[in-house]
């Protein structure tokens, strides 16, 4: 019974609402909209984001970093090293440079700190990109 009523109503109201038709925006709506989009487009092209370090460069940096890290962790690495002896320069006559000795703990801490710093920079950049994006 109610189904029939619904059908009756549907037929009746379909006709009624079509009689009312659609609403129309102002006549120059499309023109105004396109003008606004073009302004936004100009702004966009003025401020195109270009990274200082390209993806390719980041790849090389990451590869070098991983090789060095791999060498430190698994390779034949001396924690007590004398930087200046590597140059084979006889400077002892003129100035006295301190011998630098770096412990493994210090190196691990430094690497950890660097990784987290890099991560933080990335996250902050993402946060600001989202905040100022047009979409």
């Amino acid at each position: 019974m109610e189904k029939n009523k619904e059908k009756e109503f549907d037929v009746f109201f379909s006709k009624a609402i079509k009689e009312v038709g659609m609403e129309s925006p102002s006549l120059d709506f499309t023109k105004k909209l396109l003008a606004k989009i073009e302004v936004k487009q100009v702004k966009k092209t003025h401020f195109v984001y270009k990274p200082i370090i390209t993806k390719y460069a980041w790849g090389i940096i990451a590869a070098v970093f991983l090789v060095v890290l791999g060498y430190i962790v698994t390779g034949d690495y001396q924690s007590n090293m004398s930087w200046w002896s590597a140059f084979n320069l006889d400077l002892k006559w003129h100035i006295k440079l301190p011998e630098i000795s770096i412990s493994k703990t210090y190196i691990y801490c430094f690497i950890g700190f660097t990784v987290f710093l890099g991560l933080q920079v990335y996250l902050i950049k993402q946060h600001h990109s989202k905040q100022f994006s047009l979409r």
Binding site: E2, K5, E6, E8, F9, D10, F12, F13, S14, A16, I17, K18, E19, V20, M22, E23, S24, P25, S26, F29, T30, K32, L33, L34, K36, I37, E38, K40, Q41, L134, R135
Partner: protein
């Protein structure tokens, strides 16, 4: 045919062709404006929503994957933008409940509306659409005017087709109640004139 045309428009817009965007705007602006107007109930505000909708379409057109019809995707943006607008204005989206649907006689209602002049009838229906809640208005417009299926309406409103069916049943009741309230005095007035 229309869908193929929309796909061609979209390809051109992705390439940055604003002339094609103008064609797409011309094609859909009336329907999107109607939806926005029936939700926010104000011409200036509806035009603001309409502008936001097409800017969003232009910016996000490459994310349209063609799963649904372009019009469904567009109406979904329009619906969400209108909802956002109403929420920003802290305006209500709620509807009132109606229980006396069983007593209504739609055949009689059709007779009533048939007896009113076309102009008056249009005005009365227009007023009734304005009095419906934002969600009821969209549902009614998409179902009766745009003749979308329950599945398509579900996509626009982000609901399940079953929920749409239930909501449509309730919206129909509220609409019928408003029709009865508004049209009966009109017909009495009409008799008075005669």
């Amino acid at each position: 045919m229309s869908q193929d045309q929309d796909q061609n428009y979209i390809k051109s817009i992705i390439m940055g062709d604003t002339h094609t965007l103008a064609l797409l705007v011309e094609k859909y602006k009336h329907m999107v404006f109607t939806l926005a107007f029936r939700m926010v109930k104000n011409r200036e505000e509806a035009e603001e929503v309409l502008q936001d909708v097409f800017i969003k379409v232009y910016n996000a057109v490459d994310s349209y994957n063609g799963d649904a019809k372009f019009s469904t995707w567009l109406y979904k943006i329009a619906y969400n933008k209108s909802l956002d607008y109403l929420k920003k204005q802290k305006r209500s989206l709620d509807t009132f409940s109606v229980d006396d649907y069983e007593n209504m006689d739609f055949a009689e209602m059709e007779n009533i509306t048939r007896n009113i002049e076309e102009k008056e009838r249009k005005e009365a229906i227009g007023k009734i659409l304005k009095e419906l809640s934002a969600k009821d208005s969209v549902l009614i417009t998409l179902y009766y005017y745009e003749e979308l299926s329950l599945i398509e309406i579900a996509k626009v409103m982000d609901l399940s087709p079953n929920t749409v069916k239930v909501q449509l049943h309730r919206s129909r009741k509220r609409l019928a109640k408003l029709l009865k309230e508004k049209l009966e005095p009109e017909i009495i007035q009409g008799y008075g004139k005669k």
